[in-house]
Amino acid sequence: MADNRAALAGDRLLAYAALAPSAFLLLLLAGVPTITVFVTAMQDVGMGDTDGPFIGFENFAWVFAEPAFYTALWNTFVWVFGSVALEMLLGLGLALLLNKSFAFRGAARAIVLAPYLVPTVVAVLTWRYMLHDIVGVVNAALMSIGITDQPLLWLNSQGLAMTSVIMVGVWKFFPFVVIAILGILQSIPQEQYEAAKIDGASDFQQFWRITLPYVMPVFLLTALLRTIWSFNKFEIIYLMTGGGPLDATTTLPILVYLKAFSDFEFGRAAAIAIVTLAILCVLLAIYFFFIKRAEARQ
């Protein structure tokens, strides 16, 4: 018995020793930057300063009193939920379609996945050019078929700018949803559909009773994952509009960037980043809750 305990303790020690390098790396790569940002958020750091006077939670107080923060928070939610909702719907629809048998299905799958493979910077700059009011093909096409008689201001109207950004975001990332859902669709046993057909179930009933219950856990997890990723997405919005016109597309990551590299207020930028991290932690908690629930069901 004592031998067993000693062996177990030895195993545990070995396990900790094996984990130590990874834990150290994780601490170095994730922990140190987070702590540094937190420390910066407690200081008044300006352009070219390595650090600044300690001011406690003053920067956080500034964040919660700053109207630009609430505008950015609202814009972030519009961007995240607008783009994720559309990505999920489009992704689910196309995954169902691509799961059917038809000619050139392989080619169709490759085409659908293409936007995900294009580098984001290339894709966004191309879209920016396409949506230009004078030289853009989108406006030229809309005007030539008579939908509008003058160019739409995709990127510089306060009403349309966020729509344009969401549109490009959906185009870029819906293939991820297709990949995730297509994977689970292909694992549904065909016998269940055959049995349902024999019992006289309609297509909709088959979808509702068989497909959806299988797909739902993955669908929800993908939606949560996309929500988290979209929350701190920076490059699409920055390259498309720079956060404008005025602050119509300024989301939290854009506000952090502008505070740091336009206003040179690194302390305040760090405080916004920490608040953003806190919001993301809540989303992560939801994500892990769903993961655990899905695991428990299995």
């Binding site: 404008g244 005025l246 336009s262």
Partner: protein
């Protein structure tokens, strides 16, 4: 015998390796960071570095060319880690802060060696009496580009005043899809530059000579009112336009009049020869102040000090002087003629003659208008400027606060409030005044 030969060759290789590593160890490395990423500029710098290293075998130059955004991040990170490149491109808004914190090396002795009087007036900006950066090119944003064929077809002559500009823009805007005028109204620095030219032309300034914010002056309101009115004759998408759009949209052939930097004509000459032939240049129209005030700023290099990790300052000084003078300055200016204006008067004439012949089909008049940097201001020098008898009189005050205002795009946001949101110009100017005052108060506290 063969073994002896093998030992000899191994020994020889080791000696060669030892010698080369000793030579490498003796070489002083100068790191050089800039954002001139045009292929001809890169080619120029590579050639200049090769020539310099041939003359100075004990110095090795390591060049790093990054994007404009990348430069700022690199500079800030390098300061934090005390690994600043010895030579770097410095922006006007960084000059005052960096010099005051001891991050830069004074360059007065180098400027005197080159010849202080040879520099174009206003291109050397002192901080507390010392020069910390040497200009290598000037940017002139105040050239009026016109479609000569459009003007002739509509019977419009070159506008000399704002009223004529407005009337000309209206006449050139038509059913054919053409627009009379082009200006930027995006949330960016270029919009701030354009608005500034208009404010100064209308007799206003952002600050007075005592560095009080005076943005909500009648000149600003006149400028904003003018922009609101002329926006009717500009493309509807100007609300996102920046530097690139001022050229790309002109190159579509749909624009009649455009006030912008000479890079426009360099691009037209290279890419749209017909448009180039039909484009003529002139000075900006005169504003209500009786002066056409151009925005002209210097692009400069600075030497970083040992405080932020610079190691070979003397070697860097030698290389810096090499690239900002003589044939190198001439050759760099010729890479995008007539956009790159050499700040040394002694080099300008050569560049005009060579550049016009090489790039502009001999149209020297375009180069001369592009190189005319008289009656000019920039953000740092505009405080308390006066506009009298058709000329700009500088106060001589260098403004340490305006960089923070421009970096926050407040002038551009004022334009957007008027042009995109339809806000009253006086109300938008008052909003700008309030924001600027808050920033200045904050900076003064520090």
């Amino acid at each position: 015998m063969a073994r002896t030969r093998l030992y000899l060759s191994i020994g020889g290789s080791l000696v060669a390796l030892l010698m080369s590593s000793t030579a490498w160890a003796q070489q002083q490395v100068v790191r050089f960071l800039h954002n001139e990423t045009d292929p001809p500029s890169i080619e120029f710098f590579n050639n200049a570095i090769k020539a310099f290293e041939a003359e100075n075998p004990d110095i090795h130059i390591e060049m790093e060319a990054v994007s404009t955004d990348g430069r700022l991040q690199k500079v800030l990170a390098s300061i934090n880690t005390k690994t600043m490149p010895e030579i770097f491109k410095v922006l006007p808004e960084e000059r005052f802060e960096f010099a005051r914190k001891g991050y830069l090396v004074p360059l007065d002795d180098m400027v005197d060696e080159i010849g202080r009087d040879d520099y174009v007036a206003g291109s050397l900006v002192p901080v507390e009496g010392k020069i910390y950066d040497v200009p290598y090119t000037l940017g002139n944003y105040g050239v009026l580009w016109q479609r000569e064929d459009f003007l002739k077809a509509k019977g419009v002559s070159t506008p000399k005043t704002w009223d004529e500009l407005l009337a000309g823009a209206e006449a050139l805007t038509g059913e054919d899809g053409n627009f009379g005028f082009l200006f930027p109204a995006g949330k960016n620095r270029m919009t701030g530059i354009f608005l500034s030219q208009m404010i100064w032309g209308a007799g206003g300034t952002y600050f007075d000579k005592d560095l009080n914010v005076t943005f909500d002056n009648p000149g600003t309101v006149k400028a904003l009112t003018f922009l609101r009115d002329i926006a009717k004759f500009s493309p509807r998408g100007i609300g996102s336009y920046s530097y690139g759009d001022m050229i790309n949209v002109y190159l579509t052939g749909k624009i009649g009049l455009d006030i912008y930097a000479p890079r426009l004509i360099a691009n037209a000459a290279a890419n749209t020869p017909d448009l180039f032939k039909n484009t003529i240049a002139d000075n900006m129209p005169v504003g209500p102040s009786g002066v056409a005030v151009k925005f002209v700023n210097a692009n400069s290099f600075a030497l970083s000090s040992e405080t932020v990790g610079s190691k070979n300052v003397e070697a860097a000084r030698k290389f810096l002087k090499f690239i900002v003078t003589g044939e190198r300055l001439r050759d760099f200016s010729l890479t995008v003629h007539p956009h790159l204006i050499p700040p040394l008067k002694g080099v300008q004439e050569d560049v005009i003659k060579l550049g016009a012949a090489q790039t502009l089909g001999g149209r020297e008049e375009i180069s001369r208008i592009a190189f005319d940097t008289s009656n000019a201001l920039d953000f740092e020098s505009e405080a308390g400027a006066q506009f009298k008898d058709g000329a700009v009189i500088r106060s001589g005050v260098v403004n340490p606060y305006i960089g923070s205002i421009v970096a926050r795009d407040i002038p551009a946001q004022v334009v957007q409030r008027v042009v995109l949101q339809g806000e009253d110009p006086a109300a938008a100017a008052a909003w700008g005044q309030q924001r600027m005052q808050a920033i200045v108060d904050d900076l003064k506290k520090k």
